[in-house]
Chain length 240, copies 2
C-alpha cells in the first residue's frame, strides 16, 4: 500500500490517496490516538471515489471517529473501461431513461462488475487493517449489490448500511438471506433508477433480524442530510 | 384544568395527574425555566394512558426538554365503555386472532371512537397551552388514526410521529393526503395487527413532502429502543 499524497483538512482529518497495485484508493482518518474502527464506503459502480457527495459523506463520517476508505474497483469510477463496458453502461442508461426493461443489461453488466470488485475490496481491507491507526470492527456503507456480496463473503464486516436496492443482480438478491449482520437500508421513495417495490422485497429478504429501513421522499440524490447522522448512530451502536 | 396529584421523579421531571371535566390526563414537564414545547402522546385506543410503555416513552421524551401530555379520551383507556363498545372490542380481537376480515368491525367501532376523541384532545390542547410552563409549537406522537384527524383539524400541530398504520378508518385514510406537517412514520415489519402493505400505502398517501418511514423487524410491541431516540431527534428538528 503506497500513500501517494496526503493533506490535513481544517477539522484535523487526514485525507490520503493510496495505490495498492492497480487499485486507487482514498483513506480518511480522524485525529485520534486510538486505533479507529473502519468503514468501507462504496459508491454505485458508475461514479468515482472522488465524487463530491461521497467525499462529503466520508469526511463527515471520519469526523465522528472512523477511518473511512474508498477505492475505485476494476471497471468502476475512474478505472479504465473496455469498449464493451462503455457500451453496456450507455445501453443501461438509455434503457432506464426510456423506461424500458433493464434486467437483461443489468444482469450481464453489473453482475460481473460486482464479482470483479469484491476481491479488490478484500485486498484493500487486508491492507487497511494492517495499518496501526486502524482497528476493528469493520462497517460497510453504500452500493447495495457489492455490500451484499462482501457481507456474505467477508466475516470481518460487522454492520452494513445499504443505499438504493432497487436493481441488484440476481446472485446478490439470492444471497441476501445469507446476510446476517445488522443492517440499515436507506431508500428514496421515488428513486428514478430503483423501483420501490423491488427495494422493499430485498429489504424483506435479508436474513438478519436486526435490520432497519429508512425511507424518505424524493429521487435518487434527494436523501435528507439527517440520514447521514442517523447512519452515524447506526455505526456507533455496532462498531464502537 | 384541575391537578389532582403530582410527584417529582428522580430525574427532576414533574408528573401530574389532571382532570378536565370528564377527561383524565397526565402531564409530564421537565425541570426548566423556559416554556417547553408540547408533545401530545396518544396510545392506540385500547390501552390506558397509564400503560407502562407509554409512561416510559413520555418520561424519556419529557427528559429531552418537552412537556408531554396524554389523556384517556371518551371510550378509550380507563374511560367507561358501553356494552356495545365492549362487544365490538371483543369481536375485533377475536376476528384479528382468527385472521378473519376486520374492516367492517373496525369501521363501525374505531371510526366513531376517533371522531369522539378528537374534540377532547383539542380541549386538552387549549388547556395545556394556557399553562405558563408550556409554550409552542406542538407535536403529536402515537395512534395513527387520531393523529391524522388531529393533524388535519388542528393547525397548532407542527410535526407528527405515527405508529402502526395498518388499520385506519376509511375517513382517515382519505384525509391522509391533507396531512402536510413533517411526519415520522414508524412501522413494525411483522406487526400482527397491522398489515404491512396497508401501512406502506398509507405512508405513500400522506400529503406532506417531508415524511420519513422507519421500519424494524418484529411484532407490534417489538420496536427497538433506538427508535425513541430517533423520534426525539425528529421532534428536535421541528419543534425546537
Amino acid at each position: 500500500m503506497d500513500f501517494t499524497s496526503e493533506r490535513r483538512l481544517d477539522d484535523g482529518l487526514l485525507e490520503r490517496e493510496f495505490t495498492l497495485g492497480e487499485i486507487p484508493g482514498t483513506l480518511w482518518t480522524p485525529e485520534s490516538a486510538a486505533a479507529a474502527p473502519l468503514i468501507l464506503m462504496a459508491h454505485n459502480n458508475g461514479l468515482p471515489k472522488g465524487e463530491p457527495r461521497l467525499v462529503a459523506r466520508a469526511r463527515h463520517t471520519a469526523a465522528q471517529g472512523y477511518a473511512v476508505a474508498s477505492i475505485d474497483a476494476a471497471g468502476c469510477g475512474d478505472r479504465p473501461r473496455s469498449a464493451a463496458d462503455q457500451q453496456a453502461r450507455a445501453d443501461l442508461r438509455r434503457a432506464m431513461q426510456a423506461g424500458e426493461p433493464v434486467d437483461g443489461i443489468f444482469e450481464s453488466f453489473i453482475g460481473p462488475l460486482v464479482e470483479k470488485a469484491v476481491p479488490e475490496w478484500r485486498t484493500a481491507l487486508d491492507a487497511l487493517l494492517a495499518l496501526p491507526e486502524i482497528g476493528g470492527p469493520v462497517g460497510y456503507s453504500g452500493w447495495t449489490a457489492l455490500g451484499i456480496r462482501l457481507a456474505v463473503a467477508e466475516p470481518r464486516i460487522a454492520a452494513a448500511g445499504f443505499f438504493a436496492g432497487g436493481y441488484v443482480p440476481r446472485a446478490q438478491r439470492e444471497e441476501a438471506r445469507q446476510v446476517t449482520v445488522p443492517l440499515l437500508f436507506l431508500l428514496q421513495w421515488d428513486d428514478e433508477g430503483n423501483p420501490r417495490q423491488r427495494a422493499l422485497e430485498l429489504f424483506d429478504a435479508f436474513g438478519t433480524k436486526e435490520k432497519t429501513l429508512h425511507a424518505n421522499m424524493g429521487g435518487h440524490v434527494g436523501t435528507p442530510w439527517f440520514e447521514l447522522e442517523d447512519g452515524g448512530r447506526f455505526y456507533d451502536r455496532h462498531l464502537k
